[in-house]
């Protein structure tokens, strides 16, 4: 019963946030208008016959809200998984270099092929490559100590940041450079259903994988020797966790650009609320991440006429909220 309630609220919270996101914006809509518009699915009917409400909901706000929720969920769950795997609460998906790798990959694709469409696979591949490099550097001394991994991530991130600068430097300043910069700043503003379909594949694979293996993340966080003695095939399980967390993050970064903060702090908010057991923490991180990014996106659309980039708001809103929670729960057992 308690369990059913837990999972119900985990699923329900992001849905509520998505509805909020549909109602709010420069052009506020009443919930009844939203429901009305949602009732007429445009696939089955001629879309020109509907009013402006319908267009706002179906063409602008819904893809954006769904994509925001997916991106937030992926970043938070990957962060939680990486923290458990590397036995280091300061690791996030970004710290291992997936974001800078993906950024470089996207920029390279734009430089080589002049097309943003090629950016998705490139971002994905280079994001994963970056994490693999960090992991290998961390293992140089045969121990995957937390400090070495973070150091590996920092090194790999800085190398990819330098490569990215180089790509920007040689890119055509009138056509390619703006495209690169625009892609990197990223936001959910350009969200289309096509984005959801393409980036949704790696994100779903990653998230499903992490959900399936979340128990083993607990055991892996006991350290290699103990996980092995407890019967876990450590190399295989670690590989799966890194693969899933990386493709989920890379998929998210593909469509939203670099949104920091979520992957580090949302899992900690989860830890304060429900504890450290990854069986609960991964679902809760998914849910909190989805809610948080959807809500922040509402703010980014509403505060000023021009949209504020998400990365700025996640830290500005999230930081104080984190401190508030810390004070309120006194850190819990976290």
């Amino acid at each position: 019963m308690k369990r059913a309630l837990f999972y119900a609220s985990v699923c329900l919270a992001p849905i509520i946030c998505i509805f909020l996101s549909l109602c709010m914006g420069r052009y506020p809509l009443h919930l009844s208008d939203v429901m009305n518009a949602l009732g007429n699915v445009p696939i089955w009917t001629d879309r020109t016959s509907f009013g402006i409400h319908h267009t706002i909901i179906w063409e602008i706000r819904l893809p954006r809200a769904i994509l925001g929720a997916m991106v937030g969920a992926c970043l938070a769950a990957s962060g939680a998984a990486f923290q458990g795997l590397f036995r280091n609460p300061l690791v996030s998906s970004g710290i291992l270099g997936v974001s800078s790798g993906a950024g470089f990959g996207a920029a390279l694709a734009i430089l080589l092929f002049n097309s943003v469409a090629a950016a998705y696979p490139f971002a994905l591949v280079f994001g994963m490559l970056a994490v693999v490099c960090s992991y290998l550097i961390g293992r140089l001394y045969r121990t995957t100590s937390a400090i070495m991994l973070v150091l590996g991530g920092v090194i790999v991130s800085s190398v990819f940041a330098a490569l990215l600068s180089f790509v920007k430097y040689v890119a055509d300043p009138y056509e390619q450079l703006p495209a690169i910069v625009f892609w990197l700043m990223g936001s959910l503003a350009s969200a289309r259903y096509a984005d959801i379909m393409i980036a949704g594949i790696p994100m779903s694979i990653g998230v499903i994988g992490l959900l399936a293996i979340r128990w083993q993340i607990n055991v892996l966080s006991m350290g290699d020797r103990e996980a092995h003695a407890l019967g876990i095939h450590t190399n295989l399980s670690k590989g799966i966790v890194i693969f899933c967390a990386t493709i989920a993050t890379a998929g998210a970064v593909c469509v939203s650009g670099v949104v920091g903060w979520i992957g580090l702090v949302i899992p900690h908010i989860g830890r304060m609320l429900i504890g450290n057991d990854n069986r609960k923490l991964i679902p809760v991180s998914l849910s909190l991440g989805a809610c948080f990014l959807t809500l922040v996106d509402i703010l980014s659309r509403m505060i000023t006429g021009a949209e504020i980039p998400l990365g700025i708001l996640t830290a500005l809103v999230g930081g104080p909220f984190f401190v508030y929670l810390l004070k309120k729960t006194k850190g819990g057992d976290w």
Partner: protein, 273 residues
């Protein structure tokens, strides 16, 4: 049939040889104590038995079967492990940590069921720390943590438990608590225990509790002697093993039981050894 058989086994890190042609076996209901100075390779030997490292040569059998190629899951259904130092990163609850002992009995993507959780509670009850069940294990004392680790090994339901210096860093009371728990479990469930320890007296303790006990004196990558603690632990061997002068005395405790004890007296300069 011996549960664990190791014959002429060797291991080296690169060119640095850790041990060479070591042989021993462990029977059901037996405690096998591994004694030797710091850095003599005790932990590496235990790692090889656990399958974390692999013997480079020799015979290694578990339950009579060649165990060289055993996967971690298969080894973990035969041998549980109580680590020397457990690094605590996340404040898991005690019952969550103990439930992790069930991992070897789950299929790949499976999570523990209600039955597994019940087993964890029973193990905590058996060890006498049920009241700690809902505490974050980062808040426990060293002695309590060691009991949690033993409970975790217990739910693994293995015939063999490997303990790497289980009483290191513990106070007098907890040292005895751990020794008593081990004694009871071995008697009650006919477990076999392989234990690295820095306290030769532990072997005498188990022997005085009528448990079949063997001891191996491990020095410079070889066993100086293997066998019955009473007969092989003498002043001469301790001198060779640790480079110390020690007296082996017999004590009769208040219950009238006689037990041997080793009293370290002084170190010996290299020259005199």
């Amino acid at each position: 049939m011996s549960l664990v058989t190791v014959r002429d086994a060797s291991f080296s890190y690169g060119t640095r040889q850790i041990f060479h042609q070591i042989s021993f076996s462990v029977e059901k209901g037996e405690i096998f104590c591994l004694i030797g100075p710091n850095g003599c390779g005790k932990t590496t030997l235990l790692d090889c038995v656990l399958g974390f490292h692999h013997f480079h040569s020799g015979v290694f059998q578990l339950m009579g079967k060649d165990a060289a190629g055993f996967r971690s899951g298969r080894v973990a259904r035969l041998i549980a492990y109580v680590p020397q130092i457990h690094e605590r990163t996340f404040p898991y609850l005690v019952r969550e940590v103990v439930t992790m002992g069930r991992s070897a009995h789950l299929v790949f993507f499976e999570s523990p069921s209600r039955k597994d959780r019940t087993m964890a509670e029973e193990a905590l009850e058996r060890i006498g720390i049920r009241h700690l069940s809902d505490r974050p294990y980062t808040q426990l004392s060293g002695g309590e943590l060691q009991l949690v680790m033993i409970a975790r090994a217990l739910v693994q339901e293995t015939p063999i438990i490997i303990m790497d210096e289980p009483t290191a860093h513990l106070d007098f009371r907890y040292e005895l608590v751990i020794m008593e728990v081990i004694t009871e479990l071995v008697k009650e469930r006919q477990l076999s225990v392989i234990m690295a320890t820095h306290f030769p007296n532990h072997a005498f303790y188990f022997q005085s509790k009528q448990i079949q006990t063997s001891i191996a004196l491990f020095s410079n990558g070889r066993f100086l002697a293997v066998g019955d603690p009473e007969s092989i632990m003498d002043e001469n061997r301790l001198r060779k093993l640790y480079g110390i002068q020690a007296d082996v005395i017999s004590l009769t405790d208040r219950n009238g039981k006689t037990m041997k004890h080793i009293i370290p007296v002084s170190t010996i300069k290299e020259m005199e050894v």
